[in-house]
């Protein structure tokens, strides 16, 4: 199996994760590995638990059972800011931005983790802290150019078009310099042309050495960029493999076309 070749070097290991909200089991005994440097697609019908999986990994929710290892370290149930410090960041399904702040301000805040500024220095504007602020701004501008937002620099996020907002959302996730990036439906509600731009961006991010996990409903686009795909249905993993294998997998077709799924 080709898939085994890839899983030699896992960056993220998910072991028997379970998440229940009251009586509702959203993730059920889910285990898989994410390999260093791959683009892993996650697909599944609505309500399959894809976004909840991201929420559990990034610390928004604590899993009911199971463990998550990131680079060999146990990160189960850590607070979001700890998970980000460890090197995992995420984008959101709907545009979660700072509506009244400009693009540049967004990215400066996203770099917040990497600027060590002494409190008094920034309070009185010493030359050292000003130099650091300049350096942060330069980095933010670099990131802005990387995602192609240089023309939108001073516009507030609420005035950006939908496609640019999406790019900004991804840029925000890149700010803390993650090693693993989780993208939640980066292509939803985008025009084909803009979708290609985002796909190119995802490839560019991977080429920089960042491992990417993508949730997406747009199969055609997803299969084009993914190295591997995992299919979830009702909180369980029903298939895992190369895009070409998934396309012809009977279980997957059944889940999507509404066949009987035994739970």
């Amino acid at each position: 199996m080709k898939t085994q070749l890839l899983s030699n070097n896992p960056i993220l290991e998910i072991r028997n994760i379970e998440k229940r909200f009251g009586g509702l089991t959203v993730l059920n005994d889910l285990s898989f590995n994410v390999c260093q440097g791959e683009i892993l697609g996650i697909i599944g019908p609505n309500g399959a638990g894809k976004t909840t999986l991201f929420d559990v990994i990034t610390g928004r929710y604590k899993p009911t059972a199971g463990t998550i290892f990131f680079k060999g370290k146990d990160i189960t149930g850590l607070k979001p800011h700890k998970v980000i410090e460890a090197g995992i960041s995420r984008s959101f399904q709907l545009e979660v931005l700072f509506p009244n702040l400009s693009v540049l301000q967004h990215l400066i805040i996203a770099y917040h983790l990497h600027t060590e500024v002494s409190f008094l220095g920034s309070l009185f504007g010493t030359s050292r802290s000003r130099k650091k602020a300049k350096a942060t701004e330069a980095k933010a501008i670099e990131l802005m150019n990387f995602v192609g937002l240089e023309d939108q620099r001073d516009k507030p996020a609420s005035n950006l078009s939908h496609g640019y907002q999406r790019s900004l959302g991804i840029a925000m996730a890149l700010g803390p310099k993650p090693e693993l990036l989780l993208l939640d439906e980066p292509l939803s509600a985008l025009s084909p042309k803009r979708a290609t731009v985002i796909l190119d961006l995802i490839r560019k991010i991977r080429d920089k050495g960042v491992t990417v996990m993508v949730i997406e409903h747009n199969m055609g686009a997803l299969f084009r960029i993914c190295d591997r795909v995992i299919v979830l249905s009702v909180g369980r993993k029903i298939a895992e493999g190369l895009p070409d294998e998934i396309k012809i997998n009977q279980e997957v077709i059944k889940a999507y076309l509404g066949g009987a799924v035994d739970v």
Binding site: T58, R60, P80, H81, I84, E85, S89, R90, F92, V96, L97, F98, P99, N100, L101, Q105, I108, I109, A110, H112, L113, T115, V117, F119, S122, L123, F124, G125, D151, K155, N159, S161, G163, M172, A173, G175, P176, S191, K193, R194
Partner: protein
């Protein structure tokens, strides 16, 4: 363009500072001095409340915390015999510490719930002053709080604070206000300010860019409360008597009205609001029973027609020409990138 804007701003601030220092040269009537002292103290309270509001949470415990500063300072001077000049920073410090206790249970809540839980805990503190007669004096409060100790400057006659002359108080409150405004302004321009903005705009995204939302919220609340403590301390030694009823919830509402009508998005907002409303109250002296009605009407009109407040309005006015250009540029931009 930006530099010119900055220079006009600097000149404006400098001119306002010089004028405020020269006011006692024009009038020394106790009436006007009292009004101005009132304004300076109110500006400290309102500006520090705006510092908290900037983070997205409206605190109703701010005025009781100012009261805490007043009580702390008065008790330190009366019971422990400390000098006012030591009690002032200590009052700020102790108020900041107490604000941790007050805000800790409020912190899990946001929005309306934060507003009301902070009201509840502020009120608990106020009721403690009524309940515990021993240090706080019960409903009658504390009387005969000594005025600040005289300042001796070698070569000049010493500056005495007392009931007869309000001018030393005028300069005391003015200097404290300018000092507070300077610190608050620097804080807002520092990294803490941009983190506060991020938390206000989106709590969720702030968490996921790695901001420790809880900790920063607490830091901002504590710093804001320290300034309320400073204001309270000056207030106590100026009026020389404080009662629990001085810090009731209604005053909190007034402070919020000052900030809202002045505009909370702009640093000058609370200053404009306070000056406007204090003078308005003096104008309305003949119909004093209708003051809350007038305030309420002004608040309603502000919220309906200029939700950004008065300072937001001027910004809109000045930016109109600039915005027109921007809209034009945007138009062409949209065409080029239309998907």
């Amino acid at each position: 363009m930006k530099d010119r804007n900055l220079r006009t701003k600097c000149i404006g601030v400098l001119a306002a500072t010089v004028i405020s220092f020269l006011i006692p040269g024009f009038t020394q009537s106790p009436y006007w001095m009292h009004i101005f002292i009132n304004i300076w103290i109110s500006i400290i309270v309102t500006a520090s409340l705006r510092f908290i509001i900037n983070m997205g949470e409206w605190s109703f415990a701010h005025v009781p915390l100012m009261g805490m500063g007043a009580y702390t300072s008065a008790l330190l001077v009366m019971k422990l015999g400390l000098s006012f000049w030591l009690a002032l920073p200590l009052a700020a410090l102790i108020t900041a510490v107490i604000s941790i206790v007050i805000y800790l249970p409020c912190l899990p809540t946001t929005g309306t719930f934060f507003f009301f839980s902070s009201y509840a805990f502020g009120e608990v503190m106020r009721l403690c002053w009524i309940k515990f007669k021993d240090p706080f004096g019960g409903p009658a409060g504390l009387i005969l709080i000594p005025p600040p100790n005289p300042i001796h400057i070698p070569g000049f006659s010493s500056i005495k604070f007392g009931y007869l002359s309000k001018i030393p108080y005028y300069y005391l409150s003015l200097v404290c206000m300018l000092f507070s405004l300077f610190l608050l302004y620097r804080l807002e321009k520092s990294r803490l300010g941009s983190i506060a903005e991020a938390i206000r705009e989106s709590n969720l995204l702030s968490q996921f860019v790695g901001i420790k939302v809880w900790r920063y919220k607490m830091v901002i609340l504590v710093i804001g409360s320290a300034f309320a403590g400073i204001a309270g301390s000056i207030y106590a030694h100026y009026t020389t008597l404080i009662m629990p009823v001085d810090f009731y919830w209604g005053l909190g509402v007034y402070i919020i009205i000052y900030a809202t009508v002045g505009g909370t998005r702009h640093f000058a907002g609370p200053i404009v609001g306070v000056i406007l409303f204090v003078f308005l109250r003096e104008l309305l002296r003949p119909i004093v029973m209708y003051v809350p009605l007038v305030y309420g009407l002004i608040l309603a009109i502000t919220l309906t027609f200029m939700p950004e407040g008065l300072t937001g309005l001027t910004e809109k006015f000045f930016d109109r020409s600039k915005k027109g250009e921007l809209a034009k540029a945007e138009g062409t931009n949209e065409d080029a990138t239309a998907f």
